[in-house]
């Protein structure tokens, strides 16, 4: 109860402080869900990062708006040692942290803040490692930052040196992700003294374009423009997230002018949205892939020619229409076309059920019957897995293959689909975290990921393919990496551990007068560049 009352008082105080009338330019975003908290490190949901990491905080480096290119963030420049093991970051000077009613920063951002932000996740002995009970740092461990970073040293107030255990090209992309946002060490110390450590998560202080004002659980989050922002200051004065979980209701709110922009429209509503004269829709290829993973360790799917034959039996254009309602493109590679190193020279399997049938016969496969697993949830990469499975079922029937469609509860689905000796092929997909091809290929297709707890649901372990990935990961030469990944995609296509289904398009409906919104290929929603035309 005591925790509650202090929280409640804190929330009221914050609210009182900001109870001033709204400014002229208030931008309302109808967000799809509630953030889990406002410290980006312990959480994994994109919804949380949209509400915390992006508006409130910055990272050492960041993704250039609308791209997956890395640009300077709180680090102005950095040097990489020749062996790729040491990264020295030169920090931006004069960056101010936000303030609230309990905290006013006495100094600018410096190296201590960087070390604090990493160590609290890395070091189990750090007093901030378990500042909330039950807290874990899932991203930090699943991106293997704990295995990668050997040490972080403060060279001086404005220089930090990271030493790695092994060279890793995606390192910069990793530290551009929200989970390693830079928090204020001084704020943490203040909270520790006051005995209100959990406010690090409830009343966040960052350096980002927007200051946190108040959060009313499951209803509204309010932010105010950070007038002291080191980058280009936001054009809007107030940013409000109106939490609206249902897609149809979000659209009604957008139409009624109760918000300016919404994520994740229902695919069925798109035609209606495009026809509305007061709305416009921004569309962009998503950084994702939907796939069907065969179990390459179980006969007859252990034979590449069987898998290729099945891929040829699949009418992917029809599937795109039926499942994605045309909003996307057919996938031929495991990585999306907007990602660097995408191998466009590769030709997709031609849809030819007769040839597929013959190939299966040649491989000695007769009267094949198999399971196809349909995931029970909707994801941007797979809007309707049940329908996708049905389309594949009828396609395979034409090649003489009998399909039984199965499904499980989502948690079970994720677990059972990684069980050794699993029967059948699994529909699943992936959305990129950081724009690096390694984040698709290693996570989903490497030998290491075929182990228990990995995400290689084809259990496909091709030494040659994995060696190329390892080489690319350790190389800091971009041209070389491009070549290696292109080569890897050729092996993938030849071995066909998956049927690659589609890359879906992201649609962002907004009011006509919204300007400057830049869609992120990573699916983040950020508002420092938006404006409202008069």
């Amino acid at each position: 109860m005591s925790i509650f009352s202090t929280r409640f008082l804190a929330a009221s105080a914050l609210a009182l402080m900001a109870a001033a009338p709204l400014h002229a330019k208030t931008f309302v975003y109808c967000s799809e869900g509630s953030p889990e908290g406002f410290d980006p490190a312990p959480y994994t949901a994109g919804t949380t990062f949209d509400a915390s990491g992006h508006p409130i905080y910055n990272r050492l480096v960041q993704f250039k708006a609308g791209t997956t290119e890395i640009e300077p963030g709180l680090a102005e420049t950095w040097d990489v040692s020749e062996d790729g093991l040491t990264y020295t970051f030169h920090l931006r000077k004069g960056v101010k942290f936000h303030s609230n009613d309990k905290f006013t920063p006495s100094r600018d951002f410096n190296a201590d803040d960087v070390i604090f932000s990493f160590n609290r996740q890395a070091d189990a002995k750090d007093p901030w490692h378990t500042y909330i009970s039950g807290i874990t740092y899932e991203y930090y461990s699943s991106m293997e930052m704990d295995k990668l970073i050997k040490s972080i040293e403060k060279v001086d107030d404005n220089t930090v040196k990271f030493t790695l255990n092994h060279p890793e090209a995606p390192f910069l992309a990793n530290i551009a992700m929200p989970f390693v946002s830079i928090l204020s060490k001084e704020y943490a110390d203040t909270l520790e003294k006051a005995g209100t450590k959990e406010d690090l998560n409830n009343a966040p202080i960052g350096t980002g374009p927007f200051k946190f004002v108040a959060y009313q659980k499951d209803a509204v989050i309010r932010y105010q423009k950070n007038a002291d922002y080191w980058g280009e200051a936001p054009k809007i004065d107030d940013l409000v997230f109106a939490i609206t979980p249902d897609a149809s209701v979000r659209l009604q709110k957008l139409k009624a002018g109760e918000c300016h922009l919404m994520p994740f429209p229902a695919p069925a509503d798109l035609a209606d949205i495009k026809a509305d004269p007061n709305l416009k829709v921004d569309e962009q290829a998503g950084l994702n892939v939907g796939y069907l993973a065969y179990n390459t360790t179980v006969a007859p799917f252990d034979k590449p020619e069987v898998r290729r034959a099945l891929n040829m039996a699949m009418d992917k254009k029809a599937l795109l229409e039926a499942v994605y309602q045309g909003s996307g493109e057919v996938a031929k590679n495991p990585i999306p076309p907007t990602m660097w190193s995408y191998n466009n020279a590769i030709e997709d399997d031609k849809y030819d059920p007769e040839a597929a049938k013959k190939m299966l016969e040649d491989a000695g496969v007769k009267d094949l019957s198999m399971e196809i697993w349909a995931m029970p949830v909707q994801r941007p990469y797979m809007p309707n897995a049940r329908r996708a499975a049905e389309v594949i079922q009828s396609d395979f029937a034409k090649a003489g293959v009998k399909v039984e469609i199965v499904s499980y509860e989502w948690g079970e689905y994720l677990k059972k689909s990684m069980e050794e000796g699993r029967k059948g092929a699994v529909i699943l997909g992936w959305t990129g975290d950081n724009g690096d091809p390694d984040n698709f290929l290693s996570v989903l297709l490497s030998c290491a990921a075929a182990q228990p707890g990995g995400a290689n649901r084809a259990f496909w372990c091709n030494e040659e393919f994995s060696a190329l990935l390892a080489k690319a990961k350790a190389s800091s030469n971009h041209e070389e990496r491009v070549k290696l990944y292109e080569e890897a995609q050729v092996i993938f296509k030849d071995q066909a551990p998956w049927a690659t289904l589609a890359h879906s398009t992201q649609y962002v409906p907004m009011a006509k007068n919204v300007t400057g919104f830049v869609q992120s290929p990573l699916g983040d929603y950020t508002f420092e560049t938006v404006d409202l035309a008069e």
């Binding site: 509650f4 009221s12 105080a13 889990e36 908290g37 939490i243 209701v249 009604q252 499980y408 992936w430």
Partner: protein, 335 residues
């Protein structure tokens, strides 16, 4: 009277204990587990899985977990959410007023409309009013709430633009929560137009939430009235030459109200269930939506403690309903 209340309260203890067991078992019987759901498509290594499970105490045998939970409960600790890491009680208290506000307005609407409709339908049995209202009640009772809510939004908020689409108050108004009840807080805030904004946001969700209880109450009132109207004392009252108004208002209605009040009391449980869908459609930040989110994420502490809190409140409301019988019918006044 006091003894009656005390004995009823004593009954609460074994019931609550039973609920902890049911809630604890129920959420764990569902397939899927919170750690896997948190990891998602990426997966989690067996070592990491074991580590997190141990941290959350889920590596222990179930009976041990249950007794740990009971022990914490006795010390007033309802646990922390696995997802938000925040205390369950704090989350409940932040969200509960919104649900109460919605439920109270809904039950008032359901009663104020349902009882008169039922009475008139009974008196004019077989008339067009009776037929239309009872058909309406049947439709209302079988209405799919999600569809009904969306229909009202599209018509009243979309096409006619009479009401706001969703939320509790216009975003223009911003004041600290004092009671958590938006109608009261908006008055306290003194901001011009805040109260009417809060009220206009309540209209559609409370109508949607009231729909099923309204239908049930109308039908129950009608059948209770019909039964009472056939009783000897009503015939006697009529024979005495009392006015129809007096016969119905004093002799019939008062007696018919007992089963009706039972029904209204039972609707509290129905309202809690209806709140789940209503709150989701209208983005209403209450405990219904909180529960459904927590179930789908297998957030064990929130589900087990949340259900316990809700069940406790429903039981206390039912106890209060029991007590009101005495006000209406002196024969069941508890001594």
């Amino acid at each position: 009277m006091l003894r009656f209340i005390l004995s009823k309260l004593l009954y609460l203890i074994p019931t609550m204990l039973g609920i902890t067991l049911v809630a604890f078992g129920f959420i764990r019987m569902l397939p899927g587990d919170p750690v896997l759901l948190m990891a998602g498509e990426r997966g989690v290594s067996p070592e990491r899985y074991a580590e997190i499970s141990a941290q959350l105490g889920y590596d222990k045998p179930l009976w041990q977990q249950y007794f740990t939970y009971l022990g914490d409960l006795l010390q007033g600790d309802l646990g922390n959410s696995i997802v938000t890491k925040k205390p369950v009680l704090a989350e409940f208290l932040a969200l509960f007023p919104a649900t109460v506000e919605l439920a109270v307005v809904a039950i008032i609407i359901a009663t104020l409309i349902g009882v008169p409709v039922g009475v008139v339908a009974a008196i004019k049995r077989g008339s067009w009013f009776d037929q239309i209202s009872m058909t309406g009640a049947l439709i209302g009772f079988s209405m799919p709430i999600f569809w009904w809510g969306l229909l009202l939004i599209i018509f009243f908020s979309g096409i006619l633009q009479w009401t706001p689409v969703s939320g509790r108050i216009s975003l223009m108004y911003f004041f600290p929560p004092v009671t958590g009840f938006m109608l009261i807080d908006s008055l306290i805030s003194g901001q011009k137009g805040a109260f009417s904004s809060a009220l206009s946001h309540l209209i559609l969700p409370s109508i949607v939430l009231a729909t099923i209880p309204l239908a049930v109450i109308a039908r129950q009132t009608r059948s209770a009235m019909l039964e009472v109207m056939g009783e000897d004392y009503v015939r006697t009252a009529k024979a005495k030459g009392l006015s129809a108004r007096r016969v119905i208002g004093v002799h019939a209605l008062r007696n018919a109200m007992i089963p009706v009040i039972t029904t209204i009391g039972l609707q509290i449980g129905v309202l809690m269930a209806g709140a789940i869908l209503t709150e989701t459609i209208f983005s209403w930040p209450g405990i219904g939506k909180w529960m459904i989110d927590s179930i789908s994420r297998r957030d064990y502490p929130v589900v087990q403690s949340g259900l316990l809190l809700i069940a406790g409140i429903v039981m206390i409301v039912n106890l209060l309903v029991d007590l009101t019988y005495g006000l209406i019918n002196p024969r069941i006044r508890h001594k």
